[in-house]
Symmetry: D2
Subunit: 299 residues, 4 copies
């Protein structure tokens, strides 16, 4: 069912020494075309939370995203000198926000270990001014394919997985089986933990439910192309085994699996829509290690 | 062939007094589902130019978009105190950019006349701090459907339409006929003028080719849901008839037609891909009058 | 003791219809020269709190000030191509901050009533893009003169005035008398409430001690040129008599008295330095309604 | 006439291994007090250019400083709910600007060589997120003392020194002699090259007049505490001897001499005011390598 043996644990070099797309390489044109055939309703889903200063998850060191007005009707007839009719003008904004604000995706240069980023590119390439020389968001920020939602809270009969719950491969397999969701090579896996609902309750702290290291084999076994979750870091927090960014290191760094965080999965879940066409168009910011995104799912 | 009579010239009230989506209402779920059936190759196209400071079209008053590093490997073992292995860390960015930077789309609150924005919402609602109360980018920023590219330079046998060239409905009809592109209600119309190629030549000034007021009837006649171009403002510059923002007023303000500017259409054109599935997921910034976008087309 | 009768209550027109400096007009060159003669020690005091994200007073809607690195040694030998020796480079920053961040001063365009800003300039001149046409920070941001510190907590034998305490003219007079501080026309009055010490204790809320409306007559009687405090808004909060910005309206709008907030007065107080030469050089940002400042006092 | 022998060429360790103020240590309280006695007119001079996007010198990589409106009268009665009278409100701004924008000063951490920054602190301390651990702008950003203007164009009978002109110690000595300006230990030396007038003519390129390496001995011989110029980098450009940042390395890195660039010296020059009291209050941004400044001179 997968392109590779299930023992493959590290994709450095798998698609060549120059590769910057990682497991997105698994999404061939044929698979995209096939994915367009899974839609049943044509309903369009936005998987992004609103970008605003309050009521959404924000990490302090990133700061809340800010919108400032650049032009407005308070600018008296700004274009009259250029031939505009009185009263005509435009409203525009300035945005100041972290590339990893709210609903966002990671470029493959986002996390590094002492050995470097994905595919062995040097860990210190991304400098203060220089930004990513390899694996910036332009290289993995545009993709589409078959999306599968594994709705763990629904399967387990809870409102949300408990903060600190480390999701296992067995849980993912059981959920997929119960849903009747067959995973295929190159699929985009979205895992609902319910954490955003827990967050909305106002009592959230550091701990979050998320993938444990054990769940990595699920991604391997099914040759998943990208993973998204409704939590802050895909992975369980506190980190599995106390290893900082353990799952990021396994998926993003070692395997080149594109990750998406803080996805709004509640509408898909409410509709019981577990299979859909998904497209992602990140902002192609030259050199950036991530981008806010608004993935679009078609049910 | 259209849902309405071709004499309809103003959509205020057409979808109710509270409507904030304008002609995107024409894209029903059924039409989205049908649009998924037009793909032939499964090739994924990004329609966004890179977001960077140079080499792309930038309006002075908006400023060039900026990316600053927020974290990098120069931050010595930032997470060791939290259990990280030596050498582990993350690269992140801050983005400072106009909502209408480079490849972007307009919210229906973007342009106003003395009568207000689309559907008659007050022209002064969008204030310095308050931002859009109606028709912010969240209301029209997520959509998908059948995309049609009209490749005017190819049809007319030129590299690009001349700066200042006002495209007519007749030119659009002739191009559609020659391409064999039948327009359907709720389609997303992308018009290639070739201007980005002209810009790349380095001699661009204020003048650009684009839609003239005459072309508005083409949008009416075919009940187009959204319009995108490879130029800076959809419309011809200098403005048609010397009327500032003439086509924005006709399409965006009066009709509620969502507009996308600075689309990178060269790859679709090179492949002769004139019909495709298109999805757009703008950043859902609360209150914003626009957003940079990276539309994704599936050939 | 003052240039004007104590019944003068409104300075609109006092220095001409075009005036944009308000009571700073009271600081003649002669008075500046005289002020240089009051120093006794030559000790240099910075009256600004550090500009940082935590540990200092920040109003939510302004956001915490942010510093991002623009260049650093992580940018490998950035100038070698320009003739630099290996290892040579520069560290630089980007600043993103409100003009009224932490220790700051108000331009005379900062507050408006239904009648306009100081001297009757229109209240809607300051637009989203246009900024201040009159009374921007350039017009009052540079001044110097004799500074007098009235150390109210010391005089009253407390650590700080209680939050919500509305300072009266009588309290200011009594403190001045006890200190032996004679006020002169054109003086810069700094009032210590102790609030920053209260804030440092970590329990601060909305309420702050500050000038009540009654204290305005002290400013009138002594023809004070500018007023600074160690609290957030000069004036008592909740506002005196429930009138929003009551003291700003009296001092800034009606009289054109330049105001400085969040001044760090603890060092002057600790040294018992109540009379000093003070100079202020705000950032002369064209159109801005305020600026962060670092006033320099010479004891 | 100086505190040290004129052969001292490197101040690392001169004021202790922990020193972060460099030659500002030369400005004792006694010297500040003495400096208050040099004023003759009491006239107040702002030495800062306006902070704006056009008409002032801006380096591309730093970007033009930007001001955005944060609040304005377009925000309808924003405070009525809090007890404000109708029509009452405030105008505020957001500033986005490089720490080295337009008229600015360098922290001693601004430039590094392979040996580190001033006093031997590590060259890689200033990281992307971490910023300066030593010698940030807070450590040298507040000072005052006796200022001396050497008006070279006036002395040499020209409008400005030619771009590329490397100023020598002999030229500085000759100008000081002709002006009758006796330099004293701890003085703040301002050198007028006339470059801003040349820039205002609109034909400026990369080349600028400025200090050559030879001029460093003038700073040594007179034990100058800080140096400011009306050009972009204190030093001549192209750099003296083709050594990138040659004078920054000699003055800022080796000697810990605080530097100020793009000073507006034209008013002092026009008044023939060559001796004055000068105070500088940079924004005390924690970790920053520089700050925009508005130095205040009293004639």
């Amino acid at each position: 069912m997968t392109d590779t043996t299930s023992t493959r644990k590290d994709n450095w070099g798998r698609w060549g020494a120059d590769d910057q797309r990682g497991t997105l390489n698994l999404i061939t044109d044929e698979r995209v075309l096939a994915a367009t055939q899974v839609c049943k309703t044509g309903k369009v889903y936005s998987l992004s939370l609103p970008i605003q200063q309050e009521g959404v998850p924000i990490f302090d060191y990133r700061g809340a995203p800010r919108r400032y007005s650049l032009t407005s009707a308070s600018d008296k007839d700004p274009y009259v000198d250029f031939g505009a009719a009185p009263g005509v003008g435009s409203n525009e904004d300035m945005l100041v926000l972290a590339s990893h604000s709210i609903t966002h995706m990671d470029a493959l240069s986002h996390v590094y270990t002492h050995e470097g980023i994905y595919n062995g590119f040097p860990r210190d390439e991304f400098s203060t001014q220089g930004a990513a020389e390899h694996c910036d968001i332009r290289t993995n920020g545009t993709f589409a394919g078959r999306g599968i939602l594994l709705d763990l809270p629904r399967h387990q009969g809870v409102d949300w997985l408990e903060p600190g719950h480390a999701i296992t491969s067995a849980e993912l397999e059981a959920c997929a089986d119960a849903q009747g969701s067959e995973l295929r090579t190159g699929d985009i896996l979205l895992v609902r933990t319910g954490w955003l609902d827990f967050f909305a309750g106002g009592e959230s702290g550091f701990a979050q439910p998320g993938l444990g290291v054990d769940a990595v084999s699920f991604v391997d076994d099914h040759d998943i192309a990208a993973v998204g979750c409704d939590n802050g870091a895909i992975e369980v927090m506190p980190f599995d085994g106390g290893v900082f960014l353990a799952v990021h290191i396994e998926l993003l760094v070692k395997r080149g699996v594109t990750l998406m965080e803080h996805l709004k999965l509640s509408e898909l879940a409410a509709d019981g829509c577990h299979e859909f066409f998904l497209s992602v168009g990140a902002l192609p910011v030259t050199g950036a290690a991530g981008s806010p995104i608004n993935p679009v799912a078609i049910g």
